[in-house]
Amino acid sequence: MSDGQLIALSMLWPALAAVAVALLGRAPNLRDGASSVATLLTFGTVVQLVPRVNSGARPSLTLMEVMPGVSLHFEVEPLGMVYALVASGLWIITALYAVGYMRGHHEENQTRFFFFFALAISAALGIAYAGNLFTLFLFYEVLTFSTFPLVTHHGTDAAKRAGRVYLGILVSTSVGFLLLAVLWTYFASGTLDFRPGGILAGKLDGAEVPILLGLYAFGTGKAALMPFHRWLPAAMVAPTPVSALLHAVAVVKAGVFSVLKIVVYVFGLELLQEGQASLWLMYVAAGTILISSVVALTKDNLKARLAYSTISQLAYIVLGAALATGAGVIGGGMHIAMHAVGKITLFFCAGAIYVAAHKTEISTMNGIGRRMPFTMGAFLIGSLSIIGLPPLGGSWSKWYLALGAAEGHNEIFILVLMLSSLLSIGYLMPVVVRAFFYEPEPDAHHGEHAEHAEHGGHDEHGHHAEHGEGMHEAPFLCVAPICAAAVGCVALFFTSQYLHALLLPIAGGQ
């Protein structure tokens, strides 16, 4: 198949899946089967692009010229390739997990859920392949609006409020800052195309570069840079597969991916190195890393803790972009993949605990590892990857990020990375320790359902009332994806050189 066909097809499969889901709404098995098949087809199509990108080719596709000089244009480069692989790859296991979770939980409106889910993946791939800022912005907004019905899936007042925060922050930052930055770029450089080495060199005054960078960094609200991070914890009201999709794969990575891509292909690393235009962004990112890690320590709700951990981990990638060194951006690119797999494991586990034991608060999870050994084992592996210990994927991206800091003589940020690793031990390990080493509370599985009234209405308590001793795992379709994700964390440690080789061209020069 030609390059253009592969690009079009890989975005088309999820869109077709959405249509199939809508049509097969009355036959749940066919519907979920169709969307699972589509995940495989999508991933299969995306994978075929990898060797081409690896060999230095840049597959591209131009659909139409929307305005003079502004076209709907796709071009796959290494960074987008990584993001597309992550998004489509993790969609396979998320789709399976979602089936297990939504059914295990007897959620309503599952057709609508899977419809927008597939649509969001299509939008994410559009972002990954975007060949210019217009295309990127278009799919960025599509992703925002297609995930809104997922965040507000339960339709409760809490969901509605969270939806307002979600849409409010994401839309106002993207329209107020990002669009302004895009238009400014177009005005200054006369083009919106992503080009190696950037398009802005020599087009802006020295003092304008940090301002434009700021508009981009804060404008991509999906990167959850403080103080525009509030939407991420708010979106935790969504069903867990959404949290996994949003907080590990599609949405947040779309944000940091955009920041990285803009730094590499719009500004160009050299422009940012001159005059230290991105120094302030390094400090903002470092501040976000540390502050959100500390906030994560204070959260007792597992999903909220994971959300703040995500904010901190996303800021790693922004930091990598702001360092504007070869190793920094490569580290950032690798962290997109590493964190995605690690965090999706943790969110899957949180969902599995909720389905099997109806627990959301960490303080009630004493001894849960004995009943859910697979889930909590995977949680341990995911945690270690987030912390950045070998032999898990997360260690490599941190290594390169630290290298990037050293390369630009900003050694202080190595310290920030180390401190943050310590903090992440502090907020992740207690969960594991409680699960495996604490005695289960005697009434742990009886009569405490009222505590979780906020999630009531959708719980089928009667169904799960009989928690005996011994193993009581979540449904198979939940546990299998969890184990797959955990294996992925380990596999990424040993295959990271391929990822590094793929990303090498974005460092420029070589």
Binding site: V66, M67, F145, R164, L167, V171, G176, L183, F187
Partner: protein, 491 residues
């Protein structure tokens, strides 16, 4: 043949209007009016093609040579407006009366179609004529027809709001006529092309400045430029939805065209914006309109009023484009005129679908409509996206050129304000979306999806907001050509 096109575009609806009344039967009148509107639309398309290929069309009415005779004159700007007005009329007329709760009083249907055709003839007349006094004549034709159209509504406030619109509209018309009179006194001609030449000799005169002021205030009232917009929310919200859709999409747009003609053709951008610095007045007022209109829209409890206030804000975007006095700015203004007509026309038709089912356009009563009327509400969401300016809709194209125009002038804060005000649109659109999709429907209400003859025209307009959001060849192409002509920059 081509030379006759403009006059045909006026005469077809004008002469058909009385015939429509004679038909007396409801259905016959309806199909006759639809046929006339579509024929007019076809004429408009031919006119645009002729203008794009062969340049301006001139037609001497009755064979009397200008400046004594009346001249019809069509360039890219008029052709775009002609296309806009006739296409909206053609689509809006398709909108069926609906099963329940007809908004037009019984037995008045033939009169309704007659008046709509008359209003259409008047509006087309304004766009094609090259004579300043003739503009006033057609302005009164369309205005008188539209006062009556608003008064036809079943709403008991309709006559009152028609009356207050009549007072304001007459004031506006009078101001306009005074301005034209002064121009005639100073130059001895009413032909616009002639006026352009002769006015240059007397630009310094105070009478000419006064004439400009009178013209702008007169047009400003009819265009609902902030703070002369008070009549608009009442008029639009009490009129039948079809009438609101038609007027919102055409009447203010044509007045905008007149404003562009007066400022750029008659007086010239150099005089208006460099000597008189009219942008010092127009720009702040436009920005106030953008924020004032949107903020007022947020607090409305009635969907029609909400859309009407949003129109006030959108007119602000259009006049802001003019106030940049640049090719990009005027392009932005003209593109937005076209784009806004599509989205607002479509959205008012959505209200029409809803009102036909609910018998009311109160937002509070729209609980659960997302489930009961999925296609209608989907149209609302898409139209809302266009108002917000989400990429791939027409609103984005308008915003794109508007902000570019601001950046060209080095006005970064204005660019930021444009984007900021479009965030307000998210708030008022999403208020409705939340109620329609998150609240449970009233159990006893028997509400179902709108019939096909309502959905079809609605989706034609809403669909076109998507189509022209991705294919801007026609809209931006013609608008750019028009803007170059208006700014005196040769292509």
């Amino acid at each position: 043949m081509n030379a006759h096109l403009p006059v045909l575009a006026v005469l077809t609806p004008l002469l058909s209007a009385p015939l429509c009344l004679m038909l007396r039967r409801k259905l016959a009148a309806r199909f006759f009016a639809i046929a006339v509107a579509w024929i007019t639309f076809a004429i408009a398309i031919s006119t645009l093609q002729a203008v794009m290929q062969a340049g301006d069309i001139r037609y001497e009415l009755g064979g009397f040579a200008p400046p004594l005779g009346i001249e019809l004159r069509v360039d890219a700007t008029n052709a775009l407006m002609l296309l806009l007005v006739s296409s909206i009329a053609a689509v809006v007329l398709l909108f069926g009366p609906g099963s329940a709760g007809a908004t037009i009083a019984k037995g008045r249907e033939p009169a309704f179609y007659t008046l709509l055709l008359l209003a259409l003839a008047g509006l087309i007349g304004i766009t094609v004529t090259g004579d300043a006094f003739n503009v006033f004549v057609f302005l009164e034709v369309s205005s008188l027809a539209s006062y009556t159209l608003i008064g036809l509504g079943n709403d008991r406030h309709a006559p009152m709001s028609a009356f207050s619109y009549l007072i304001m509209g007459t004031l506006g018309g009078t101001f306009f006529l005074l301005g034209v009179g002064l121009l005639y006194q100073m130059t001895g001609t009413l032909n616009m092309a002639d006026l352009t030449v002769r006015l240059q000799d007397v630009h310094g005169s105070r009478t000419v400045v006064l004439a400009l002021a009178l013209l702008v205030v007169g047009i400003g009232i009819k265009l609902a430029v902030f703070p002369l917009h008070q009549w608009l929310p009442n008029a639009y919200s009490h009129a039948p939805s079809v009438v609101s859709a038609f007027l919102a999409a055409t009447s203010t747009k044509v007045m905008y065209y007149v404003l562009v003609r007066v400022l750029f053709t008659l007086f010239g951008a150099a005089f208006v914006f460099e000597t008189l610095r009219a942008d010092y007045l127009l720009m702040p007022l436009s920005i106030l309109a953008m924020f004032g209109g949107s903020l007022a829209a947020i607090y409305q409890t009635n969907l029609k009023r909400l859309l009407a206030y949003s129109s006030v804000a959108q007119v602000g975007y259009m006049t802001l484009g003019l106030s940049f006095a640049s090719v990009t700015g005027v392009t932005a203004g003209l593109v937005h005129v076209f784009n806004h007509a599509l989205m607002k026309g479509g959205l008012f038709l959505v209200v029409g679908c809803i009102t036909a089912q609910l018998g009311s356009s109160d937002i509070a009563r729209m609980r659960g409509l997302g489930k009961r009327m999925p296609l209608t509400m989907a149209a609302f969401v898409v139209g809302g996206f266009a108002l917000i300016g989400v990429p791939a809709t027409v609103g984005f194209v308008s915003k794109w050129y508007l902000v570019q125009a601001a950046l060209e002038k080095g006005m970064l804060p204005v660019a930021f304000l444009i984007l900021l005000s479009s965030i307000l649109a998210v708030v008022y659109i999403w208020r409705v979306v939340e109620i329609a999709y998150f609240q449970e429907p009233e159990a006893e209400a028997k509400v179902s999806e709108a019939p096909l003859n309502q959905l079809l025209p609605t989706w034609l307009l809403i669909g076109s907001t998507l189509f022209f959001g991705l294919n801007t060849d026609v809209t931006v192409g013609v608008a750019q050509m028009a803007a170059r002509q208006l700014m005196g920059v040769l292509p």
